[in-house]
């Protein structure tokens, strides 16, 4: 497929945007990345995602696909030759989808909560909530990986993408709060997995640099403080 047939509307700091780009890389599909201006939404975005007006959007030919994990499944089903992103067994697929939903519904909000929490006690409570979630994910990792490097086995799969896309922000959270979230003591499997994931060829060029993300987080924090 010609490069211009596949476009991704996104922005570099967004963990959600990384999901389709990692998936496209896994499938060796060429695509054009259209960077949205942070702070204003392009005509193309508003036209392609009128319901939510959010990134990422995958535009395949003239068809827009929205919602990051839905896009990943679309990519897996459209470019269906190996490597597969979702597992082949229906129960394993259900398990991967369950934990991906858990990551979005529980882990990500906990992480955001840490940034917003005011006062030492509130921050501590938010951090504990996130750590509790990560311990559950450690258990899921052990069960899903069955001794192999990724949730998906020997290769990056759906749940690796769903959770791994947050790693940049997880590292920034650790830095800002001087706390270890993924560590050898509490989450040994995930601590190792994180390094392998970030170094993977499908991931390394689309994972934002921690310093750049940290700077961006500071800008966001200033904006939040200013709007109070």
């Amino acid at each position: 497929m010609a490069k211009s047939d596949v476009k991704v509307l996104g922005a570099w700091p967004s963990p959600f945007v990384m999901r389709p780009t990692i998936a496209l890389n896994i499938k060796s599909v060429e695509y054009e990345f259209l960077q949205e201006d942070l702070g204003s939404k392009s005509e193309l975005l508003l036209k392609s995602n009128p319901v939510h007006k959010k990134i990422p959007v995958l535009i395949h030919g003239d068809k827009p696909v929205c919602e990051s994990l839905i896009i990943v499944e679309y990519i897996d089903e459209t470019w269906s030759s190996a490597p597969s992103i979702l597992p082949s067994d229906p129960y394993d697929r259900a398990t991967a989808r369950f934990w991906a939903a858990y990551v979005d519904d529980k882990v990500f909000p906990s992480m955001k909560e840490i940034f917003i929490a005011e006062g030492v006690e509130a921050k501590k409570a938010a951090i504990q909530q996130l750590v509790d979630g990560l311990i559950l994910l450690e258990d899921a990792y052990v069960k899903c990986s069955k001794g192999k490097p990724f949730f998906g086995g020997n290769q990056i799969g759906y749940l690796d993408i769903a959770f791994g896309s947050y790693l940049g922000w997880l590292i920034v959270t650790e830095k800002f709060n001087e706390v270890k979230l993924l560590d050898e003591a509490k989450t040994p499997g995930l601590a190792k997995w994180a390094d392998i994931f970030c170094a993977d060829p499908a991931v390394k060029d689309v994972m934002p640099e921690t310093d750049k993300l940290a700077e961006y987080a500071k800008v966001l924090a200033k904006m939040r403080a200013a709007s109070k």
Partner: protein, 219 residues
């Protein structure tokens, strides 16, 4: 191997009813276990330790939680009478609308009923917008799934059936022929599809339950 399928649910829950509808569409026999949410069974807590919620499907001893995850599992395991379309783009659209209904419509409709004051006004405004979005998405189709019901119709049965009951109890007027004529017509069609009709809770029982709750909430 003998199939063993169990479903843990609650009579009034739209989430557990949607799984029952999916199982009925596939003609799968199952054992239904009614849970008392105030007194959750040890089995439920064992099968869904993360969320401790219904519905949970247990297939040959293996538990699955989260209603849409369960329905996709059912669709992939029993392949006849498909609930999701085959085409990847159509599947993406189906999943998109199911997610929109669950993450945006349901909370807004629920909050419109139960919240008060400014929160209620904001919820009503949001719910109206979302119902309009659904109205526009329906276009001239008989169902969201086309000629036959699909995942989106099953998920949207909350709007068609449960919200109808909530509306009656609360006096809200959001799902009306004047405001959303296509959606009203659709909700009539969808709740009269036999596989849905036969698997919905009794409307009278639901109204009684909501009325009691509404009376309590107004005190």
């Amino acid at each position: 191997m003998a199939e063993e399928v169990k479903l843990f649910g609650v009579w009034g829950s739209p989430f557990s009813r949607r799984v029952e509808i999916a199982l009925k569409i596939k003609g799968v026999e199952y054992e239904y276990i009614e849970e008392d949410l105030a007194n959750k069974s040890p089995l439920l807590l064992k099968y869904n330790p993360v969320h401790k919620k219904v519905p949970v499907l247990v297939h040959n001893g293996k538990p699955i939680a989260e209603s849409v995850v369960i329905i996709e599992y059912i669709d992939e395991t029993w392949k006849h009478n498909p609930i999701l379309p085959q085409d990847p783009y159509e599947r993406a659209l189906t999943r998109f609308w199911a997610k929109f209904i669950d993450e945006k419509c349901l909370p807004a409709l629920w909050n419109s009923t139960w919240s008060k004051g400014k929160d209620r006004e904001a919820a009503i405004e949001e719910a109206s917008q979302h119902l309009n979005t659904l109205e526009n998405e329906l276009k001239d189709k008989k169902f969201f799934g086309g000629e036959e019901i699909g995942l989106v119709d099953i998920v949207a049965s909350f709007v068609g059936f449960w919200f109808g009951a909530l509306q009656e109890v609360s006096g809200l007027e959001l799902l009306t022929e004047e405001k959303v004529p296509k959606l009203c017509k659709w909700s009539y069609e969808v709740v009269n599809q036999s596989v849905i009709k036969e698997n919905l809770p009794s409307r009278d029982k639901l109204i009684a339950y909501f009325s009691a709750r509404f009376a309590d909430a107004s005190k």
